[in-house]
Symmetry: C2
């Protein structure tokens, strides 16, 4: 059996973690030391990824576990418009998960760290019956430029990036047919290896375009209600405008029993990590220069009344109940 | 059943978390925003506290769980000589642990936060079968003043603060007789509510007294071997000099079957959170002005050979095997 110190060494080899630049001292001591660079502000967040809650140990490939644990945590940094720099990794592992499985987790996490330009600054490892991964991320941003959830005003246009429900579709496939995964690699990718909108988030903050912003991690319906709650406003969105996952015929045919509904997945599916942001009408023109502008869709507008309304395809308007993922509300 | 958002609100009420000063934006948004104060460096660490691993749910009072989870994590900040400022709280809770039990946990954590002058900057909450608490702490220190594990040189004097083995004694009592806990409140305190040596650590760093420093969290024998490993040196310590827990006669009498040995507990017991540091002979005089100087004990010296040697009471010298707590080596 390896010691904790040996696990730390293996982790340091698999994930970018060299000292240098702002990272004065990284893994291996009591704590990391980070020097402020210029007058930037730090943005700090944490997230967890648990066996049996956020992934299924017999269905999800281990490199996806490592990749996604870091990507999810970093999405909150993108949602502020900041640049991620360093992360802390807190691991609890069963003894039988410290070998090849763990190496694959580290490989996935190392790939995510390189893609997003992040370095491991420290961590803590212990043993437990189930795998638990907690990650804290430190990012930086020019003073006063971070975009919070709290600035949306009546009349602002509500935008989302990308297509919603893609991760939910992947999750449905994983849950139903773990043995057929390789066939549906493209459909599964958004669920297993989500792309974080770092460039878009940073561009929006740098150019002060949005009045409020967050990432869609639990589902559009619940996350929009959180943004509106923080801003003390309401919203009216149109079902017909919501950019949603395309269900390939091969999937629809094979998984008919799942009754896949792309609007429901787009409204209530979690794990997409797309950006949800509001733009004052006078700033809308500027958006055209945003990286990936074509992937941005206006889905409605902020209202004075505090309700969240959905205008259906038939023209009827109904209250949109937050139906996304809340671990304490769903069984 | 409460929602995750409601749990976050309760947490924010129980633990100091107001925005202000360097904390531009605290709990409730995607991430916290922290402004650098002057030219200070940040010190960053994380730690976890798990049900069944770090505490026993039927023996440990919940306010101790909250207090100790934060105190442990903060000890790594003291061990660098830094001042703790902010922390992130990552929680996984079973549904039946979100009520009164959780309020008591928050009470204990709030008390620890106030005692140590810390504010909650953010967090993440989800559901799981067992309680898991992960904490990341952000502290600050003047540039270049942090004391790492890596600076010990042959001839330096090895010091420890306080008495070692006190937490281990408390743990033995908790393990053996949970029903008699109230009687032994004083003996249990170091195990349930450890004091973190923040003042001493900060004074030592500010005055550049130690050549190397760390906290004793897993046990003197393993932590000394880590300090020596990082510094590429060895050590010779004297059993007779090691300040150790006094076992009260009432405890010794009642728990004879435990074969309590204060030297073994002082050498290999974890959870004391005392400071272990090395001082070049020319700096020893300065130590007299340290806060709590009388609680500091020289226990030996750093050597060129890389062995860790224990000089026993009978004068014989033996290799000291690291015997402290390593979750992956035991059982």
């Amino acid at each position: 059996m390896e010691s904790e110190d040996q696990l730390v060494q293996r982790t340091g080899r698999a994930i970018p973690s060299l000292n240098g630049g702002a990272l004065r001292l990284g893994i291996g001591d009591d704590a990391a030391i980070i020097a402020p660079t210029g007058r930037l502000e730090w943005v700090l967040t944490c997230d967890q990824f648990l066996e049996g809650v956020h992934y299924l140990s017999d269905s999800h490939p281990p490199d996806s576990v490592g990749y996604k644990a870091l990507a999810r945590a970093t999405s909150d940094i993108a949602a502020m418009g900041a640049i991620p720099r360093f992360f802390l990794l807190t691991l609890a592992l069963p003894s039988d998960k410290t070998g090849a499985w763990f190496d694959a987790v580290l490989r996935g996490m190392g790939r995510a760290a390189r893609l997003m330009g992040m370095r491991l600054a420290g961590g803590d490892t212990t043993k437990s019956a189930k795998v638990s991964i907690s990650i804290s991320v430190l990012g930086e941003i020019a003073p006063g430029r971070a975009i919070t959830r709290a600035g949306a005003r009546p009349g602002d246009i509500i935008y989302v990036s990308g297509k919603l429900g893609r991760a939910q579709l992947g999750l449905e496939l994983v849950r139903s047919k773990p043995d057929r995964l390789p066939r549906f690699r493209r459909v599964l990718r958004p669920h297993l290896y989500p792309q974080i909108r770092l460039k878009l988030g940073a561009w929006l903050a740098r150019n002060r375009v949005p009045s409020a912003m967050m990432d869609i991690s639990d589902g559009l319906s619940i996350d929009l209600s959180r943004l509106c709650g923080a801003s003390r406003v309401g919203a009216r969105i149109r079902a017909s405008r919501i950019p949603r996952v395309a269900i390939p015929p091969s999937v629809a045919g094979r998984f008919r029993s799942l009754h896949l509904d792309s609007l429901q997945m787009a409204l209530h599916g979690g794990d997409d990590y797309e950006l949800l942001f509001t733009v004052p009408p006078r700033h809308v023109k500027r958006l055209r220069r945003a990286p990936g502008f074509r992937e941005l869709t206006p889905i409605g507008e902020i209202t004075r009344s505090k309700q969240i309304l959905l205008v259906r395809n038939d023209g009827a308007t109904k209250l949109l109940k937050p139906g996304g993922w809340d671990p304490f509300r769903h069984k």
